[in-house]
């Protein structure tokens, strides 16, 4: 690289005498870019022709026609209708996407809460609690996630009681059961007039939003505070509740009941889902806890003292002064953690939860071939999700930057 080094140095001198074609910065930049583009283009062409040739000599099929072909296998967990022998590969792709999104969105929410909780515990002034939180964080962060997933699946969820001895988590109400085949819960089936309750709920949400704005405005003008939180909660429960009762409780519950081998009815989640959810939650919570701790510690101690000096109670000081400032340091790692959570849910393959990788990239690819198309579609799905989440991060960063002076 010494070649370019000295060339570039002389280019910076900008000799006036004559136009030196090889040492002109614009010419060089065009040349380098052309060279790169050609190399990359040639490499792409080379790989594509090789692939096409290989596909041909092996008699492998190509194209996206398989998406409308019927798939012969079944899957144990699906959010949309699917029947083996009738459903298509396109539907299989959709089931996989939804399953991935389901488990990762649950895990994101749960790990965010647990992560904040553990992060605060790490800073507890109780020595034992702080140490226990530290041990939790270190153990989880220093063992591979794949090992943890297998452990939760084999070591915990497979050891739950059998169907006949299911544990009723709702304490006798028979709406929530857990056994080693999963979690079974009652599922609401809306009746004819249920739309009125829904409408009432939406209307109340809008009302609460307006109320908040009014309360803020009043506080800014007069300094009087309005108990906005309790008022909102009361409104949100009372108004839709009243409508629900007036229209005659138009909601039925589909209860899980033991029939033959299994629970029927209601909604159920398989143990693989639960194991994956728990391990993803714990793994990412442990990582988040460290970010939360660092974020809180990054806020200057003077801020706490100043807040206490103007008469805020410690809880209010934390909520109004410390956390908002800490958020600026917490949110970027938080969002990249969400991204990791979606990506890591792909390890479901180790325990057979039907996420997109296990269902589409493994089973479907095994049955139908079409390696290039299926790998490409799966990667495109993940790219779409990741880009959406990082778009979120960019929006947040812009807002935070505007606040900064």
């Amino acid at each position: 690289m010494a070649v370019t080094d000295s060339d570039k140095a002389s280019a910076h001198v900008k000799p006036k005498e004559r136009f030196d074609f090889f040492h002109d910065e614009r010419v060089r930049s065009v040349f380098y870019q052309l060279l790169t583009a050609c190399t990359v283009g040639w490499l792409a062409w080379y790989l594509i022709t090789n692939t096409a040739h290989n596909l041909e000599i092996r008699g492998m099929n190509t194209g996206f026609g398989f998406l409308t072909a019927t798939a012969g296998f079944d899957t144990d967990f699906k959010l949309i209708e699917y029947e083996p022998g009738i459903g298509t590969y396109g539907r299989i792709f959709l089931i996989g996407c939804l399953n991935t999104l389901l488990v990762s969105s649950f895990a994101i929410v749960a790990s965010t809460f647990l992560g904040f909780f553990v992060g605060v515990l790490r800073l507890s002034n109780n020595w034992l609690v702080a140490r226990l939180a530290l041990a939790f964080v270190e153990i989880i962060r220093n063992t591979p996630l794949l090992l943890q997933i297998i452990f939760w699946y084999v070591g915990v969820f497979a050891l739950l009681p059998r169907v006949k001895n299911s544990v009723d988590l709702s304490g006798g109400a028979e709406v929530l059961f857990i056994n080693n085949r999963g979690l079974y819960m009652a599922w609401p089936v809306p009746g004819d007039l249920f739309w009125m309750t829904t409408t009432a709920f939406v209307a109340t949400v809008v009302g609460v939003f307006l109320l908040r704005r009014w309360a803020h405005k009043r506080q800014d003008e007069t300094g009087q505070q309005f108990p906005i939180f309790s008022a909102s909660v009361a409104l949100l429960i009372l108004v839709p509740g009243a409508v629900y009762l007036v229209t005659g409780s138009p909601l039925e519950w589909d209860l899980p009941t033991l029939q033959g081998f299994n629970f029927r009815g209601g909604f159920s989640l398989p143990p693989a889902f639960l194991a994956l959810l728990v391990s993803l939650t714990i793994y990412h919570a442990a990582h988040l806890a460290e970010s939360v701790r660092a974020g809180i510690l990054s806020v200057n101690k003077g801020q706490t003292e100043a807040a206490l000096a103007i008469g805020l109670k410690p809880g209010r000081a934390m909520a109004l002064i410390i956390i908002p400032q800490a958020m600026r340091a917490i949110v970027p790692p938080l969002i990249s953690l969400w991204m990791n959570c979606v990506k890591n849910s792909s390890l479901a393959i180790a325990i057979g939860y039907s996420d997109i990788v296990a269902l589409f990239m493994q089973t479907a690819l095994n049955q139908a071939g079409y390696a290039v198309e299926m790998v490409g579609m799966t990667m495109a799905f993940y790219m779409f999700i990741s880009l959406s989440i990082s778009g979120l991060l960019n929006i947040y960063n812009k807002r935070v930057q505007l606040v900064e002076r």
Partner: protein, 346 residues
């Protein structure tokens, strides 16, 4: 001028890469293997009975024995062998692109695979079929009673497809619980995570034998699929196809003729049976068509044993066996009512 030097460099690099892309020659597989000095034989992730790792990192099992037999036939030394363990979704690609010379794993011979994946199945060395196992206390005696049951099954195999077909045809509404890992599947079944377990019957037998209380479980009589297992080779090399096929036939024939690892030397020297003498190379020149040495079959039997011995060692009651009975099954010799039948050596 430095600029031109750079350009020359780029151009020559380009040319080199292009040149590297051409020049694949059409040598026969036997020549390639001989030149390399060892056979590359593909198996899968450990599956008891067929291929398995021991504590010293050595492979053992009946399919591994096929690999060893082919190596013995070519080199006269069963250890000139490299076992590759390849995950199931790339098993056929790895054979097709020349990573492995021979696929000796539990791949079921189907029309689609034989015709569309660029490979040829040689000779069947194990007849398997998919079945069900249930705990005895459920009182189930037939797979048709499994209406509405959950069944533990491995993902990404023909077992999954067969189960879906069986359920649909018999209107059983079976819900599959899929697993990537067979241990997890077995544990889940043991813990009552599903009502039945389905897999190839050979595999079920080995799983059952390893349970704490094997007698609490019942293998249902239905066989819902045909699973003929055979070693496979790349399409388009007839000689190589013959070598692998006749290696399997040599194992079967040796059992039929009573040639064993222990008596093979004696048989070669003293046998009066012309079939035995032809097979072991004491007479005639059957080896020529295969491009192997005269004593190829002798080497196989001497170093690996005959079909019955291999079966006893890894599938039957041997110390490392998975205790599947052979009598009365399809894997018995044709002379004793089974399907194991090899064309004559002449």
């Amino acid at each position: 001028m430095k600029f031109t030097r750079l350009l020359t460099l780029a151009v020559s690099a380009f040319a080199l890469m292009v040149a590297g892309g051409v020049g694949a020659s059409a040598e026969s597989t036997l020549d390639i293997v001989k030149k390399r000095g060892h056979l590359r034989c593909q198996v899968g992730a450990p599956a008891p009975g067929f291929y398995n790792l021991d504590a010293n990192g050595e492979w053992y099992g009946s399919d591994v024995s096929i690999c060893q037999a082919v190596a013995a036939a070519i080199f006269g030394d069963k250890s000139k062998l490299e076992i590759q363990s390849v995950s199931s979704q790339v098993r056929f690609t790895a054979l097709a692109n020349g990573e492995s010379d021979l696929l000796s794993r539990t791949a079921t011979w189907t029309l689609l695979r034989d015709t569309q994946l660029g490979l040829d199945f040689t000779a069947i060395n194990f007849y398997d079929g998919q079945g069900f196992m249930v705990p005895k206390d459920t009182g189930i005696k037939s797979a048709l009673e499994l209406k509405g049951a959950t069944v533990c099954v491995l993902t990404g195999t023909t077992t999954e497809l067969n189960l879906a077909d069986f359920s649909r045809v018999n209107n059983l509404d079976i819900s599959p619980v899929t697993f990537e890992d067979s241990n997890v599947r077995n544990d889940t079944y043991l813990a009552g995570g599903c009502d039945a377990l389905t897999n190839d019957k050979s595999s079920i037998a080995s799983i059952k034998a390893a349970f704490p209380n094997p007698d609490d479980h019942l293998l249902l009589p239905e066989t819902i699929s045909k699973e003929p297992l055979a070693p496979a080779v790349r399409q388009g090399d007839g000689q190589w196809f013959d070598i692998v096929k006749w290696t399997v036939y040599a194992l079967i024939n040796a059992e039929e003729l009573g040639v064993t690892q222990a008596n093979v030397d004696d048989m070669r020297a003293n046998s009066t049976n012309a079939s035995v003498r032809r097979m072991l190379g004491a007479e005639g020149n059957l080896n020529e068509g295969l491009g192997l040495s005269k004593d190829w079959a002798y080497n196989i039997i001497k170093q690996v044993g005959n079909y019955g011995e291999i079966y006893e060692r890894y599938m039957g009651g041997g110390e490392l066996g998975i205790k599947i009975g052979r009598a009365g099954s399809a894997n018995e010799l044709w002379t004793r009512g089974g399907l194991m039948y090899a064309p004559p050596f002449r």
